[in-house]
Amino acid sequence: MAGALPADRELAQQILAELRAPRVAAAFACGGLLALAGVLMQTLFRNPLAEPYLLGVSGGAGLLALLGMAAGLAWPWISLLAFAGSLLALGLAAALGGRMLARDHTPLLLAGVMLAAGFGALIALVLSVAPAERLPGMLFFLMGDLAWTGNAPLLLAALGLAVAAALSLSRRLDVLQLSPLKAASLGVAVAPTRWTLFGLAGACTALVVAQAGSIGFVGLMVPHALRKLGFNGHRVLLPAAALAGGSLLVLADALARTVIEPRELPVGVLTALLGVPMMLWLLRRP
């Protein structure tokens, strides 16, 4: 920009400060929150395949958001509807499957997976009857898209709070990797701690889904990859997941904006395109 006019430079700075920087910050916060939620879910369910959307959060959010779009509502309402849909899914999963959580997480898992399947069918139904001109917006929401995300400071603050809250639980989370009976015998109050995990992971996920739709793969892959690289104690795993998840999503979003410029791709496509080969490569490591 050697010969740029002062007005151009001002414009460039304005674009950087008002468009690019908030979007990068929002991408980082969303990625961090998703990866953090992934760690919490994997510890809650003692299963490396658990991920933030396991209990139907994305389905519940997607269904209400799509209904809002089909009705012609605008963005802040869509975001609120998505948030409400996430909470609806979490509430249903907890009510239907949470009774035995002190001893057995399987009923909660099954209830969540069933809800996710049910929401998936309803979403397909909405998509098949929705007006054609609204379909691209709906698909972008379902695949995850940072273009509408307007609230970077809120998301960053939430990420900071969530990391701090999760870190305060880190020793208990280490013990919760053991069987519920063994964890209880070591002095962990299993049911309250598991509900705290459920609530924290659910809140992180609901916030992201309400701001950016269902960005896939970050919450599954990042914790798994970090464990594979030797980050195992939660005291290091939690902040590492927030950092790595945030970085992955910033990278994916930068590519989503630029690979077929001037059009944008849904960022969820890029997280999977980047993440799948990375994960497969990690799995082949001894």
């Binding site: 990797q177 053991l178 195992n232």
Partner: protein, 243 residues
């Protein structure tokens, strides 16, 4: 530190497993619990640990109901080795063993416990890569790190080769000699005869018997406990004196 039960009854559904058990665990003793599958051995250990409520009666730790103790306080005194389930643990053997220190502040000195259970060379390996016997040793080491005054072990001999069974015996005896109490469930009457100070027979229908190995272990009593044809489990009655 004394763990006692008062008129303790346990059910499985509508079936009575144990009826009105009065048991006083003495510091310095090794108590063996014998009974058929499903007789209530594991359930009893869970209730003794204060982690499940009995149908009736109470478990008291120095006179206080154990189920009412704050979880951490309870864990500082009572340790439980449940049967294995480590599917959700992704860390190393050393990380796993160190979790036994959770009820206490500071960081544990793992080296002596890893050495006792011959895990020193395995310490950095992922727990998931261990064999069944090695994993059982890691679980025992984790319990040893907790150093409970009352250790409740559910079938601790599982997967252990004879050398490590002997090591478990030596560990249990040294715990007892230090004034702690070890309770274990097991299926081998000969092992029970050699290494336990007292035995508790659970018949699975409410009845129970408490006594020394010499009092309880006879071919007839084993048939009464396990069913017909099991008397041959008990061949060397001269072993009934502790070695």
């Amino acid at each position: 530190m004394r763990l006692t039960t008062h008129q303790l009854s346990l059910n499985a559904g509508t079936r009575t497993l144990i009826d009105a058990l009065d048991l006083a665990l003495e510091p310095g003793e090794v108590l063996g619990i014998l009974g058929a599958n499903g007789a209530g051995k594991s359930t009893l250990l869970t209730v003794l640990a204060g982690l499940a409520r009995p149908a009736q009666g109470q478990v008291l730790l120095d006179g206080q109901p154990v189920a009412d103790l704050p979880p951490l306080t309870r864990a500082q005194h009572i340790g439980l080795l449940p049967q294995g389930d480590e599917g959700g643990f992704f860390g190393s053997v050393a990380d796993f063993v160190a979790l036994g220190h959770f009820p206490f502040d500071g960081s544990p000195d793992l080296a002596p416990h890893l050495a006792t259970w011959e895990l020193t060379d395995l310490a950095d390996r992922p727990l998931a890569t261990l064999s069944g016997g090695e994993r059982q040793r890691a679980r025992l080491a984790q319990l040893a790190v907790q150093q409970p005054r009352i250790a409740l072990l559910d079938e601790p001999l599982t997967h252990l080769d004879p050398a490590h069974q002997a090591r478990l015996l030596a560990w249990a005896r040294s715990e007892a000699d230090a004034g702690r109490c070890v309770v274990l469930t097991l299926h081998d009457p000969n092992w029970a005869a050699c290494h336990c100070d007292r035995l508790l027979f659970l018949y699975g229908d409410g009845r129970w018997r408490l006594g020394t190995p010499a009092e309880l272990l006879t071919p007839a009593s084993l048939e009464a406990l396990y069913g017909p044809g099991t008397a041959s489990l008990w061949r060397q009655s001269e072993r009934s004196q502790p070695v």
